[in-house]
Amino acid sequence: MSENGNNDNGREPILRIRNLTKTYMQGKIPVHALNDVSFEVKKGELISIVGPSGSGKSTLLSMIGLLDRPTGGSVFIEGKEITKANEGEAPKIRREKIGFVFQHFNLLPSLTAFENVDIAMRFSGIPRSRRKERATELLTQIGLGDRLKHRPSELSGGQQQRVSIARAMANHPAIILADEPTGAVDTKTREIIVGILKELSEKGQTILVVTHDMEVAGQTDRIITMRDGRIARDTESDMK
């Protein structure tokens, strides 16, 4: 591994984090979940964020994904500060700039694989014909072309996570935020998921993966290690 605090490889940063802090009150005691976190991400980078439980990995992802608001600092996506977005602007940013992949997939159980991908595009007002085309294309790309009409209960964990990745991709987001995407699947499926993420990254998709699994982290372009709400180390992976 090599130290890579600046990541100056010629590409423009798609994501900039500046002095991000998040403080929760636990009773009367302030807990600094994030403490002055700053880093940049270039377009197409596949980055893993690792660290022990409670180190602030998921909190960081929530701030970038506008699922929660920071106490201080800024997040810029494609040069625009999203931390200043109000309640009315936040949904638009979430659907246009960010794609989420969750550990437990979070697919809607009553919808088919196709509909679970389709629903992400509905809120963007994309016409039905284009949504159909895009959802079918994405699911086919990840090898689920023959599972379009299957409900989550009829799919394996790995297949569900692939649907979840297709859903995250649906609106051509600037960044995909994946929170423990391999946390609920077996080793073989883990390799498939990581493979898909790597492939997407190679095509120019920026992806941030929170993971406990160093095998997964080792296959990413860069590893950010967090400890006590701070970045303890930011290194380029040489195992990819």
Binding site: L67, D68, E87, P91, K92, R95, S110, F123, N171
Partner: protein, 384 residues
């Protein structure tokens, strides 16, 4: 979005079904109870229309019931300037022992043959003519109830108190005419010559009401006041006052029936709220996910309120259908036993009931929907 609403509702079939049943029950009560009130309104409305623009004169101090006036008052009323014509009517119960039943029961109207109700068309036979003895023109409900045709005999009864005992006398009258259905009190009326009615009921030279017809151009309100001033111990009501009086009484009846029905409907509405609260609580994670996917608050609001409104509409339609079937069945029972219907489901009532069901659904779905939109997406996603 509509397909998502349907999907969500069909996913919880039992709960959705029970909630719709609750609403349907409430709307059923609204339809049946208001159907009764609506029918009463229609009867009064049509009855007043048939009475035309006559001023009703009755003994002073009569409160709602039937009093008695000396027939000489008819002449006095006729002499009041502005009165074109006046005639007396004697009203008695067809069966004094039988009780009133719904809508006041069957009545005998003693009328002058030349003043009888001719706005109602004859279904069979003829109207009364001067010189008719114990002959009668009967309403459609009377004909149906007693299964009478022209030429048949109808028994009328009178009950008179003598010292401490009452004497009931009976007499048959021949049916010479049957009126078409009017939807008014005249469907339950027997019209017979005034003189014979006075004789039979032992009320010679007595009438219950005097009907005064205003001369062209005369203001009925002013004329009613003039009659009261000119003729002693009478009070008179113009057609408008009469209408208001009846409507006032009907408002109380309507209030009672509508309140009972509303109570039932509100209970149905609370079941919607309960269902929606449970649904929102169960779907916390789902709403969090939708927000993470970029759903706006209004989309979540639309989905949850849409579910509530949809259950309201379906419940409303089911309630109206069940109410209509029940009313149809009850009306046929009442028609065969009492000779008249008891309920009317008008398009207005059906529209109001449906609108009420939908509004009830939306109103009761508002709070759960608000709770769904208030959740922070992160908290919602972590919710177990």
């Amino acid at each position: 979005m509509f397909d998502l609403i349907i999907r969500s509702l069909t996913q919880r079939k039992m709960r959705t079904g029970l909630t719709i049943f609750g609403i349907a029950l409430g709307i059923f009560a609204v339809v049946v109870m208001d159907g009764m009130s609506e029918h009463m309104n229609l009867v009064v409305d049509r009855s007043l229309k048939l009475m035309a623009d006559n001023i009703q004169v009755q003994p002073d101090g009569t409160l709602g019931g039937i009093g008695s006036l000396d027939e000489s008052k008819v002449r006095q009323v006729k002499r009041v300037p502005g009165v074109q014509d006046a005639h007396g009517v004697l009203i008695a119960s067809l069966d004094p022992e039988g009780g009133g039943g719904f809508g006041g029961g069957d009545m005998v109207f003693g009328v002058l043959p030349e003043k009888q109700l001719k706005d109602a068309k004859l279904a069979a036979g003829r109207y009364l003519v001067p010189g008719d003895g114990y002959r009668a023109v009967i309403g459609s409900s009377i004909a149906r109830k007693f299964n009478l045709k022209v030429g048949d005999e109808l028994e009328i009864k009178s009950k008179r108190m003598q010292r401490t005992s009452s004497i009931t006398s009976t007499r048959n009258v021949s049916v010479v005419g049957i009126l078409e259905y009017t939807g008014s009190i005249f469907d339950s009326a027997v019209q017979m010559p005034l003189d014979r009615a006075q004789k039979f009921y032992g009320m010679e030279n007595t009438v219950s009401f005097i009907y005064a017809k205003p001369a062209p151009g005369a203001d009925p309100e002013e004329l009613a006041k003039r009659i009261e001033l000119s003729v002693e111990k009478v009070k008179s009501e113009s057609p408008d006052t009469l209408r208001k009086m009846f409507q006032g009484q009907l408002v109380i009846f309507s209030l009672i029936t509508i309140s009972a029905a509303m109570l039932a409907a509100i209970i149905g509405g609370l079941s919607v709220m309960n269902t929606m609260l449970m649904s929102v609580s169960e779907r916390t994670k789902e709403f969090g996910l939708l927000k993470a996917l970029g759903a706006e608050r209004k989309s979540i609001l639309f989905m949850t309120m849409g579910e509530a409104a949809f259950m309201g509409v379906i419940g409303g339609i089911a309630g109206i259908a069940a109410g209509w079937i029940t009313v149809y069945f009850l009306n046929s029972v009442f028609l065969s036993s009492q000779g008249s219907a008891l309920f009317s489901i008008t398009p207005r009532l059906a529209a109001v009931a449906l609108l009420f069901a939908m509004v009830l659904g939306i109103v009761c779905g508002t709070y759960p929907a608000y709770r769904a939109t208030k959740m922070s997406p992160m908290e919602a996603l972590r919710y177990e």
